[in-house]
């Protein structure tokens, strides 16, 4: 596994990680500010934090209450 890490060109993969970080941070900021979510609020915190990529997107699409 270690040599696999070395063969990866991090300059190529870094944007992917940055985008994921931005998505996660924005989702978290919104999670703090929002009053009600679709379903239990604490559940969405775990979804945002634990599911890579898909978590924040799910939160934006489903979690924010459509009022």
């Amino acid at each position: 596994m270690a040599e696999v890490f070395e063969t990866i060109n991090w300059a190529l993969v870094a944007p992917l990680l940055v985008i994921q970080l931005i998505l996660q941070v924005v989702a978290l900021i919104d999670w703090f500010r929002i009053e009600h979510t679709n379903g239990p609020k604490i559940m969405w915190l775990f979804i945002i934090l634990l599911l890579n990529m898909i978590g924040p997107i799910l939160y934006f699409v489903v979690g924010r209450r459509q009022e």
């Binding site: 992917l16 924005v26 934006f60 699409v61 459509q66």
Partner: protein, 258 residues
């Protein structure tokens, strides 16, 4: 025109507040770069996942640059369409359900203005996001696989953008038919899938069906010139989208009057 801009600006403001202007472009960029990257690293991924018998080796040919760009387009035709459908499913139906639509339409705002301004707002967001994603994909393809000219990329954006506008038009039409956002999203996706199924069945008759647009884009990228069928398909796609919009305005008017 003034009215149109007002509704349009309001829609833009709301998209900003919902963080749509942040997450939709980011998702499109993610979709765009995931395929060039995973195709490039496929040998390493297979190696690290393992499961191959000792000594097994097979050559994975490096696909040509335009094939990789087509893979990104395939991502947009699946997950991209899903994102568009989910993002726009509450566009009008949600406002009608909550009564915001009445608040707007009580003022002298035409039904056609309301529908077309909303359609334009979503279209701008999607086209900008798609452009960002395509540029990201192009950048990676150029680094990892080979050159694709900027002109080809812009044509790809233009023609595939028409297909995305078609999806948005379906969504807007469904929005005016039903008040439940979930149902709207589901029917939009169903309609898009039906388009490709019908196109596959009647393939020899429907030469210019919107679902064939990505196939012609592939021809365009590999041959380097725009096939005549692509223009025809583009025209048909624009026509159907316009018809859907007109139908949307019509149903919206009759539904709201009733």
């Amino acid at each position: 025109m003034m009215q149109f801009m007002t509704v349009f600006k309001r829609e833009m403001l709301e998209a900003g507040r919902n963080f749509k202007w942040i997450w939709v472009p980011l998702v499109f960029i993610l979709l765009g770069i995931s395929d060039p990257l995973s195709t490039y690293y496929l040998p390493q991924i297979i190696e690290s996942v393992g499961g191959l018998p000792e000594g097994a080796s097979f050559e994975i040919p490096t696909p040509p640059a335009h094939e990789v760009l087509m893979m990104s387009l395939a991502q947009y035709s699946q997950l991209g369409v899903l994102v568009i459908a989910l993002m726009s499913m509450g566009l009008i139906s949600g406002e009608r359900k909550s009564g915001v639509a009445e608040l707007v339409l009580v003022k002298p705002v035409k039904y056609s203005t309301y529908v077309s301004a909303k359609w334009s707002a979503v279209s701008v967001l999607v086209l900008v996001s798609f452009f960002a994603g395509l540029i990201a994909s192009w950048y990676y393809v150029n680094i990892l696989f080979g050159d694709i000219s900027l002109l080809d990329l812009i044509w790809t954006w233009f023609f595939y953008g028409l297909w995305l506008l078609y999806v948005i038009s379906i969504s807007v039409f469904m929005n005016t038919l039903f008040k439940v956002p979930g149902l709207v999203g589901f029917l939009t996706i169903l309609f898009v899938i039906l388009t490709s199924i019908i196109t596959n069945i009647f393939s020899h008759v429907l030469e210019w069906s919107p679902a064939k647009i990505s196939g012609y884009i592939r021809t365009m990228l590999s041959d380097g010139s725009i096939p005549g069928d692509l223009w025809g398909t583009a025209l048909v796609t624009i026509g159907i989208s316009a018809l859907l919009l007109i139908a949307a305005i019509y149903t919206f008017r009759t539904k709201e009057m009733a």
